[in-house]
Symmetry: C2
Subunit: 475 residues, 2 copies
């Protein structure tokens, strides 16, 4: 990883004028003072260039116009939602168009009879959740940024969230997509039916491709019935390894909680400092779990979880069927990252490991923190093995920064050594391009590139994200 | 659709000898009398050529050897499992190698701690189900042919089954794949973790691609905890439309049964003839549903289903928490297709429609039967809108056969007109290539072809399935 170098590039007046003609001048920004605020996402130390223009389409037809202009003039295009990403996926590329999808923010349809919704990409995750809740339905994927991230961004990175352990991730809810391809053709793929195997699963190829294969302009998403009133458990442990043991026993016991989250002592203290929530500041790990099975079944499920916690040696186990109290316990988990950010700059890892290796992974993170002499707060989706060890450091201290970057890499290496993946939900973006190569190996990389070349032969879409730019490859 | 013309082709001695050298003579069959039995799947009227050789690899290395020989000599390869397909996907191509994967039939690993299994493609679905059941786990996808179809075939067509309504289809259980590409490179893609977004979702691109993009040689599959003891409901109705109404109300009521199947009067009588099960032969539709939520919750869920059935005007509603009695009711549904086959040759449609359109679809099928003067038995996965209208006819009667083919097409057209898909779980194979073009349209077809060309530039893998052979395209 290297620290950003921001340069300034002026747009070619020819293509910028064509864009303004097609979309209206108010949809095409080129003032560097304004466009700079669209240069990066939340991965604060990822590289970011300077966009030549920031464009705000209002319709699929306008996205088509942008891609036609871009391909005619060979201008790269970086699709972008709200900018909540954590891997630099939507960071600007020098001289490129940043295509901000936030004006396409309409929930086009909510169908209770078919249990689906049709949305534009700029719809905020929470806005969709609220819209379908009014129809008694539920859109599960809930990234921590759910109150401001967009569905387009969620689709682009195949976002997860807290309820993945029971309900899966974004791709599990995608029935169909409309995608504008690099040359401006409009692909409609997928369906409104529950099942369908007509042709290749193109929709799921675009999901998680981080804007490198096409621009998603509409999505048909499956919904679920509203979950039932949750029962919540919180438990504290003297060691993170005990928490890992609980997670393993949850899996082998056949329990399927709707949420199973972990925070270590660093996070507990940071959250307590932020919320003054009277947390047990001496606990080495806090586990929060929920069951939304409903009624007696949920109570029984949480009782079984409580038993596993006690068997593993929990210091304290607390359960509640009061939703408000459950929300408070959850709130502590939700603010973990903002709380850590109070302590300094953060580098957030996103390793997912097989659930049987969680304890080893947590121990390994302790080892990395000790070896690099750094504070690392671990928060994560324990139930699905997706952990966010978060390195806190002072970026003004060059030595500390170097050690932070080294720890970031150490943790990725640790994850791979345990049979895990470098990214469970944040994506490859610009910060893990080299690590993707290491994880998937040469044949997979060749297949990735052949698909990229097939769909975007000129390499216009989000160049340098997920895969290296072709012009930087050695022949 | 046209009736098969079987021709005889002799293998090039050169490449057949190379295969025998690489795999051993007992793994390479060229005797036409023997190879003919590997020429087709269960879509009895789909086209099938004559394989030049039928090859039985025992390992990934042997599949690599086959693909290297095939690509060196430009010989097409048709991957094949047990041959239970219903769309001609694995039907032989003249002069090609039919690659039978049934000897690679080892369950390599069942991991309760990570809730996954690693299997070779020749493992029979039921063998996997049994292996994981011994570890208290559950592999949900259950095509009707589950006791003889292979996991490789299931992956190839993205098979569904009876429990999809609650548990999804094959692709929802795929964590990782090993695939031998057209040129013999071995791709390993995916993961052992619950979540993972490192790179494109290649695994799900290969799932459902019907052997046209690569040969799957290993799969890592997610498992679930064993379901709880089911509670079963059977209900009969005076009209199929009433059944459709029940399905719609199930969806809008937020119920998620683990199974919701429908049979019409033709099927009821055929099954009763076969099983002598004392079914109500005058009922116009039979609905079978289960809940596996467990305990009181399952009883309540089935009670709610029973109420919906009565509200829709059911003639009879019967529920049971006796698993043996439940199995008997289910057995009636499972033998529906074999029962219809007692009446004559069958053409099985596989349309999936949005759940809100099921009643219209059922009425439409009645209309098609009347218009063509044919018997059509409708059986289907009502809960997910995936219906199998099955046309019964005498193939020796040319006029009847023509009307049967016309009805088959009418039903596909009907499905599309209701916003459905031409295939919910059987695949495109060779029998719906033209219909796929109609469903997905020109841009999607171009994208399909560009991906096919990227991964199999010489068009060696299962030519003419899913997509037309390139040499038959008009320039």
């Amino acid at each position: 990883m290297t620290v950003t170098t921001v340069t300034t590039a002026l747009p070619s007046t020819a293509w910028a004028a064509e864009l303004a003609d097609a979309l209206g001048a108010d949809s095409v920004l080129t003032d560097p003072d304004v466009t700079a605020s669209y240069a990066r996402d939340q991965a604060m130390l990822a590289e970011a260039g300077t966009p030549a223009a920031v464009v705000f389409p209002r319709s699929t037809a306008e996205v088509v116009a942008v891609m036609q202009v871009a391909s005619r003039h060979g201008v790269p295009v970086v699709p972008r939602g709200a900018g909540s990403g954590l891997a630099g996926s939507s960071n600007a590329v020098d001289g490129a168009i940043t295509l901000v999808m936030t004006r396409m923010d309409t929930v086009l349809e909510v169908s209770p009879a078919d249990r689906l919704a049709v949305v534009q990409p700029g719809v905020v995750n929470k806005a969709l959740r609220d819209a379908v809740a009014r129809a008694g339905l539920f859109y599960p994927p809930d990234p921590s940024s759910y109150d401001w991230c967009t569905i387009g961004g969620n689709l682009s990175t195949n976002s997860g969230g807290l309820c993945c352990v029971k309900y899966g991730v974004t791709t599990d809810y995608v029935l169909g997509l409309e995608v504008v391809l690099a040359d401006g053709r409009v692909l409609r793929t997928g369906r409104r039916t529950v099942k369908g195997v007509a042709g290749y699963d193109l929709a799921r190829l675009f999901v998680g491709s981080e804007g490198t294969l096409g621009v998603i302009t509409e999505a048909t998403l499956a919904l679920r019935p509203a979950p039932q009133r949750p029962v919540t458990l919180a438990a504290t442990f003297a060691t993170t390894a005990q928490t890992g043991e609980v997670v393993e026993r949850v899996v082998t016991s056949g329990l399927v909680p709707s949420l199973l989250e972990v925070m270590d002592n660093t996070c507990i203290r940071a959250v307590d400092d932020l919320l003054h929530a009277d947390l047990d500041r001496d606990a080495h790990a806090l586990l929060v779990a929920q069951s939304d099975t409903g009624g007696e079944a949920a109570v029984r499920e949480v009782e079984a979880l409580a038993r596993l916690c006690r068997d593993a040696g929990a210091d304290l186990v607390h359960t509640t069927d009061d939703p408000a109290e459950g929300d408070l316990l959850l709130q502590a988990r939700r603010v973990a990252l903002p709380a850590l950010e109070q302590l300094g700059s953060t580098l957030i890892d996103d390793v997912a490991v097989p659930r049987s290796r969680i304890a080893e992974f947590l121990d390994g993170c302790d080892g990395v923190a000790a070896a690099q002499g750094l504070t690392i707060g671990v928060v994560g989706h324990a139930g699905d093995g997706n952990m966010h060890p978060t390195i806190v450091f002072d970026p003004a201290d060059a030595d500390q920064r170097d050690r932070a970057f080294a720890a970031f890499d150490d943790i990725l290496g640790l994850g791979l050594s345990l049979g895990g993946t470098i990214t469970g939900e944040h994506g490859v973006g610009s910060i893990k391009v080299g690590w993707l190569e290491r994880e998937v190996g040469p044949v997979s990389l060749e297949v990735h590139r052949s698909i990229k070349d097939a769909l975007d032969p000129s390499g216009l879409l989000n160049p340098g994200k997920v895969l290296r730019r072709r012009d930087t490859l050695t022949p």
